[in-house]
C-alpha cells in the first residue's frame, strides 16, 4: 500500500488539521447555502403559483422536506462517524458524532413542527399519526437518547464510545422502525394518505424544492463544521496547538 495515497486520509485524524480545515470550509458552505436558499425562496415563495388544492399553504414543503431529509441524513452521518470511531479508535470521529447530534435533533424538531403546521390547515389537526411524522418523532427520541447517554458519562471518552454503540444499534434498527411505522400507518389509515399529494408535485415546485434541499444541506454542512470546530477545541483545550489558535 503506497504510503503517499493514505497521507491525505490520515490528516483527517489530526485535530488541528481538521480544526483549520473546518474553519476554512465553513464560510464557503455558508455563502453557497445563502445563494441556493435565496434562489429557492424566490422561486418557492414568490414566483411559483399556489397549489390547486392546498393554496399557498403548501409552501411549508420548502422547509419541511429539506429538514426531514437532513434529519435522516444526519443520523446516518452520526452512526457512520460512531462506527468509524469504534472500529478504528479515531477520537475525532466521535467528536463529529457528538457535534452532529444536536444539529440533527434540531432539524428533526423543525420537520415535526413544520409538519404539524402543514397538517393543521390541510387535515384539521396539529398532529396526525401518519408514517412520516411518527417516524420523525421516534428519530427525535433516538437523537435525544444519544445526547443523554453521551452526557450521562463522567468520562467523556467512555461517553463517546457508549453513545457510539447506541448510534450503531439505532441505525441498524432505523429501517426496521421505519418499515414497522409505515406498515402500522397503512393498516390504520385506510384510503386516505396524508402526504399523498407529493405524487402530483408540480414542475414549478420541483426546482425551488431542489434548491432548498441543496441549500439546506450546505447550511447543515456549515453549522456542522462550526460545531465540529467548537467540539474539537473543547476536547483539545490543553493541547499546544490550541494555545496557538486561540
Amino acid at each position: 500500500m503506497d504510503r503517499h495515497s493514505w497521507a491525505w486520509f490520515h490528516r483527517f485524524a489530526s485535530p488541528p488539521y481538521v480544526y483549520r480545515f473546518a474553519g476554512a470550509l465553513a464560510p464557503w458552505c455558508a455563502w453557497t447555502a445563502l445563494l441556493l436558499i435565496g434562489f429557492g425562496l424566490y422561486g418557492g415563495l414568490w414566483s411559483s403559483p399556489p397549489d390547486y388544492q392546498q393554496g399557498d399553504g403548501f409552501r411549508i414543503i420548502y422547509i419541511h422536506v429539506p429538514s426531514a431529509y437532513l434529519s435522516m441524513m444526519c443520523y446516518a452521518l452520526l452512526a457512520l462517524a460512531s462506527a468509524v470511531g469504534l472500529v478504528w479508535r479515531i477520537k475525532l470521529a466521535h467528536a463529529v458524532a457528538v457535534a452532529a447530534a444536536p444539529l440533527g435533533a434540531s432539524f428533526t424538531f423543525l420537520a415535526l413542527v413544520t409538519g404539524s403546521l402543514w397538517g393543521k390547515p390541510m387535515w384539521g389537526t396539529f398532529w396526525v399519526w401518519d408514517a412520516r411524522l411518527t417516524s420523525e418523532l421516534i428519530l427525535l427520541f433516538l437523537y435525544l437518547g444519544f445526547i443523554a447517554l453521551n452526557r450521562a458519562y463522567e468520562d467523556p471518552r467512555s461517553g463517546d464510545r457508549a453513545a457510539a454503540v447506541l448510534a450503531v444499534v439505532g441505525v441498524v434498527n432505523l429501517p426496521i422502525i421505519h418499515y414497522s411505522v409505515v406498515w402500522w400507518s397503512s393498516l390504520h389509515q385506510g384510503s386516505t394518505r396524508f402526504f399523498g399529494g407529493e405524487a402530483e408535485i408540480a414542475t414549478s415546485m420541483v426546482i425551488p424544492l431542489l434548491l432548498m434541499i441543496l441549500g439546506f444541506t450546505m447550511l447543515f454542512g456549515a453549522c456542522l463544521l462550526k460545531r465540529m470546530q467548537a467540539e474539537i477545541l473543547a476536547r483539545e483545550r490543553d493541547a499546544a496547538w490550541a494555545a496557538e489558535v486561540a
Binding site: G55, G57, R59, I60, P102, V113, P121
Partner: protein, 64 residues
C-alpha cells in the same frame, strides 16, 4: 391553470405574498421557526468557540 411560471399580469401582489392566500398563520411561523433553528445552530458554536478561546488564552497567561 397549468402549473408553471405565472404570466406577468398574474404576478403575485405583496398583499398576496404576505397573507399567503389565507394560510399566513401557518406558513410564516414555519419559516420563522426555521430561521430561528438555523440561527441558533449557527450562532451557538461561534459563541462556544469564543468562550473556549478566551479560556485558553487566560490559562496561557496564568502559566509562568
Amino acid at each position: 391553470m397549468p402549473p408553471g411560471r405565472r404570466k406577468w399580469h398574474e404576478m403575485k401582489s405583496l398583499h398576496e405574498f404576505l397573507t399567503m392566500g389565507g394560510y399566513a398563520v401557518y406558513v410564516w411561523p414555519s419559516y420563522a421557526i426555521a430561521a430561528l433553528v438555523v440561527a441558533v445552530n449557527a450562532i451557538a458554536p461561534s459563541l462556544r468557540l469564543r468562550r473556549l478561546k478566551a479560556e485558553i488564552k487566560a490559562r496561557g497567561a496564568k502559566k509562568p
